[in-house]
Assembly symmetry: C2
Homo-oligomer: 427 residues x 2
């Protein structure tokens, strides 16, 4: 009589786009799957800047991970914080919980912002990766306007009304455009002691142009569109200092009470856990099948992995890439017990590159065609609603956008997790 | 030639139901009005329990105060924390800002939960008054289920799956009913290591019945409806201890990791600021025209004031009462410069008393008629949507409720402002 082989235990760390895609695709096979994440929710990061700028509610772009996997009875979701991996003993070490043993491990632990050796800048210039980051940035932006309303000295008030965004990739551009709209349009009638349109939004980029991932033509269009919204763009300027009073650009000080960091990311410490080779951003240099060198049962995907396309370019750290990698890894893991070799190494299929500039313009690059302006904005909007999970959130986000476009109002202008205190409003 | 009299400056402290109603009604008169609140938002407290139980997003029940008053150019809104009033010099003292001088002052500073001399219980048994309270309680409820999923010992797990609500007024009943639905319905398919239906929801009330503000018949109905939802009701039990492991009831210990306080409120320190006579809960004993005794230019309204109806009963601490008082005070203040006496003392018009038990039952008492069950639930729902401010939030809340009722899903199941850490999930 044949004995059933023991059920293979696949452990996935991280429920971002990559980890979630892997879990869903693996769930159809007879594995035992455990998905561990520090958070209880999967986050739709591409719209996080809209939470930071008071357009969307936190719950409209986040879903409980276990809810998304509720129908897959072979998947257990655990909220916990991974602190290491013991490769030989095949166990994942957790903060405050017993270790979890694995047969196969998928590391999809994502990235955090990187301050290029200036971690001391973080308190003054928060980055945007989590819901807490988003509500913190929202609080700082709105509280700056609140403090400006108290201020009687014009020079002091100007500091509260200067918003600096460092880094002109998609997130920096989206934030700058939306903050400019907030100041020049949404908040226009709400203050008595100053004109919100006097606010300055300054976008700082060390490189020679904004949105350098796009063609020069689209990048130039985006620059014009941002300028039309009132954003000041400073190209070729590196920030040399960052503090509670402002930033220093090539020796020149710019006074600003609100600074946002959108300049760089670093991978999570997964490479350190494995003692694996990594690129400068800390991403594991994986094999062609996305396994960690020397560890055929450990995979790294998404922002945790450095993957190259056929022409030697790195696969970008975007949601579609992470999803494709998650699905690919699931395919590899499912093929193995059947004795099949995986037919081909991972290949990245570029689904297109999108960025939006305020609520009326966007740029879209599909490779075979590129678009800008209103039409691109519609493609951007429809694509983002399509990729949201679940009908309810699609309806809610569509309703919110419709509302913002017709009324100019933003519904989530809340200062929370901080209130008025000695010396002003708590940041 | 006649000289215009100087414009009277009315300062309102607090933008709850009372303060906001006063500001809106006063804005039509030629006053200069300043509205100060510690928060930047007005909160629809009657639905706060739905944020705490993951049904609604924070932004669906809160609006920026200055946005609500944007069309009244004679109203200035300031976010700041009042620390005292100098009655003789007619100035309001603020934390970290210059004082504000007033001709007329309206104190609408609301209430906080009261622990009847046991303030040390607060960390273990948070109350529900602010958006932060609501997201904290939501985090604790959801994190308790997350921790139960890790737990291997049944007795330990039971502690995480026991939810104690202290106080069976409307808030306690609404929380207990909704947490029971969450455990027995919403979360049913989402966990692998235990059955969420094994969760216990215990509602503790020191008095002889729940919802004592209603008739015995409606109260008995509510009790049956709650019991049907699986809530254990303990009447005539006073909590004698409260800690991180549970509560003690008349000497008997009940192990529970999640405790919520819904037992009592105390007024803000406004009476202390004025050195004015107050009742036991700290509410100012105001005159028939809602002025503070001896200070005809200072009013107290809402939860800050102890007001009695014609038959000597205290006016309840509910939104309609605060609104009526705010409007009345505006009428008094507007009548004075015209040399008119206010025709009559304040009278409270009872608009009806409503409470809901889960998502299918409610009780409604209009005085001339009382209702229970489905029909009452519809009245409750329609009334609450009607009293929300703005079409957008009405649509958003209605959409959410429709979704919850048809799918059983709750959209705001987010654990935020706290993540997994040493020894479990941060609370």
């Amino acid at each position: 009589m044949a004995v059933d082989p023991p059920v293979q235990h696949v452990v996935i760390i991280g429920a971002g786009f990559g980890g979630l895609a892997a879990a869903r695709d693996l769930a159809s096979a007879p594995f035992r799957i455990t998905l561990v994440d520090r958070r209880n929710h999967h986050l739709f990061q591409p719209l996080l800047y809209q939470v930071a700028t008071a357009a969307l509610a936190t719950s409209e772009i986040a879903w409980p991970i276990r809810y998304l996997l509720r129908k897959h009875k072979n998947v257990t979701t655990l909220q916990g914080s991974v602190v290491g991996v013991e490769v030989q003993e095949r166990k994942v070490l957790l903060d405050g919980e017993e270790p979890i043993f694995f047969d196969t491990l998928v590391l999809a632990t994502g990235a955090r912002h990187a301050y290029f050796g200036h971690d001391e800048w973080e308190p003054f210039a928060p980055g945007l990766k989590t819901l807490e980051d988003a509500t913190k940035i929202r609080r700082r932006i709105l509280a700056a306007f609140e403090q400006a309303e108290w201020e009687t000295d014009d020079a002091e008030r100007a500091k509260f009304l200067t918003f600096v965004i460092i880094g002109a990739g998609p997130t920096g551009v989206e934030l700058a455009g939306t903050i400019a709209e907030l100041a020049h349009d949404t908040l226009r009638n709400d203050f008595r002691n100053f004109d919100t349109r006097s606010a300055r939004v300054v976008l700082i980029e060390a490189g020679p142009r904004i949105l350098s991932g796009f063609s020069e033509r689209l990048s130039a269009y985006a620059r014009r569109a941002l300028t039309r919204l009132g954003v000041e763009i400073k190209l070729g300027h590196a920030v040399s200092k960052c503090g509670d009073a402002g930033v220093e650009l090539d020796g020149v000080f710019l006074a600003a009470k609100t600074i946002i960091w959108a300049a760089g990311v670093a991978a999570s410490p997964a490479a350190d856990w494995l003692n694996a080779p990594a690129d400068r951003a800390g991403r594991v240099l994986v094999e062609a099948d996305l396994t960690v060198p020397g560890h055929p049962n450990i995979f790294a995907i998404g922002d945790t992995a450095h993957v190259e396309t056929a022409d030697g370019k790195p696969v970008p750290g975007v949601a579609p890439a992470a999803k494709q990698e998650g699905r690919y890894v699931a395919e590899v893991i499912k093929a193995r017990p059947r004795g099949k070799d995986v037919p081909r190494p991972f290949t990245y299929k570029n689904a297109g590159n999108l960025a939006t500039i305020g609520k009326r313009a966007a740029i879209v690059d599909f490779g075979w065609i590129s678009l800008k302006g209103r039409m691109a904005w519609w493609i951007w909007g429809i694509a983002h609603i399509f990729f949201l999970i679940g009908l309810r959130n699609r309806l809610a986000v569509a309703l919110n956008w419709l509302w913002i476009h017709t009324s100019g109002e933003r519904s989530a202008r809340l200062i929370t997790q901080g209130e008025a205190k000695k010396g002003g409003i708590k940041l």
